[in-house]
Amino acid sequence: MNCPQQDLKGYLLGELAEAERRQVADHLSGCSGCSEEMARLRLTTAALGQLHEQEIPCRIAFVSDRIFEPKGWNRLWNSAPRLGFASAVILAAAILVHALVRPGPTAAEVAAMEARIQREVASRVQADLIPVMEEIQYLQKRAAVSYRNSLYLENRP
């Protein structure tokens, strides 16, 4: 029979303060009932120690997709069409910037450009239309000669 005031289980489990632990240790050395009870408790915890820890079947895959998968915009950014999309955006931006930044022509430049266009048109007209006009005049002359000859043949006695 052990002494109820002695906290043998607390002593066994290492839950006592130093002063209380010493007091129980002193008591155990002189009390056969408490020593016997302590022996049974030690046997009990030793038996519990026969049940060893089990190995975990596999590493815990806590890195779940729900937690660590990239957010929507991030997934889009890392997707295959990313490069093409980015290139198109950069190109459109470059065109826009160029259109806004490029200075317009001055009045003198416009006048010079118009004069150059007129000269070009005139030279093209001369180069292309004059031969056609000459061909037409030649054909008209031939037609007139043919008509005169036919009248002459009809009126011949």
């Binding site: 289980k9 839950e15 046997l43 009990t44 038996a47 519990l48 026969q50 049940l51 089990q54 590493r59």
Partner: protein, 182 residues
């Protein structure tokens, strides 16, 4: 040069800054303990594995709420406790059909020794609260104060559960000569 092992609070701080690798290290330190705690509560390795994953996922999500990084262990086991008992409540009808829930612990990796069988039988005689108290105290090595955090109850309640469980276990296990089983 003296190399100091990175402490849990350092890993927690780095995890909070978004370093996933730090959390992986933290998981590798605690996963076996959490798994063994759960397998002894729910009695099934597959269920314990699923619950362990859920525990670490919830811990990650709620790590910002952990005020004192030094109390990570009890905080983590509090999550594991909640998961285990939610699981047991869902499976209650099935569990009640078992006369010795702890007897279902047997499986691959367990010792085929007579003493181990006797221990599982003895643990099966305890109430769920008592069994959990013994698992936390004897197998996980928590102090009464930490167990009170895990179980969300007064230290006096923890103490009475452990002491009552030891009385039950002593009646079953004390006559066994464990030296012969080694």
């Amino acid at each position: 040069m003296i190399f100091r092992e990175v402490e849990d609070p350092d890993l927690i701080a780095r995890t909070k800054r978004g370093k996933v690798d730090a959390y992986n290290v933290l998981v590798s330190r605690w996963e076996k303990r959490v798994f063994n705690y759960l397998v002894r509560l729910v009695g099934d390795r597959e269920d314990a594995m699923d619950l362990s994953q859920e525990v670490f996922l919830k811990a990650y999500r709620n790590l910002g709420k952990l005020q004192d990084a030094a109390r990570f262990g009890p905080w983590l086991f509090r999550i594991a406790h909640n998961e285990a008992f939610s699981h047991l409540r869902r499976k209650r009808p099935e569990v009640e059909m078992e006369s010795e829930p702890a007897g279902r612990i047997a499986g691959p990796g367990m010792e085929p020794l007579e003493a181990a069988l006797a221990v599982r039988h003895a643990l099966g005689r305890l109430s769920e609260d008592q069994r959990e108290a013994i698992v936390l105290k004897v197998y996980q090595g928590f102090k009464f104060e930490e167990m009170a955090e895990v179980l969300d109850c007064p230290v006096s309640t923890v103490k009475s559960r452990v002491y009552a469980a030891l009385d039950v276990l002593k009646e079953t296990l004390a006559p066994i000569d464990t030296r012969g089983a080694q």
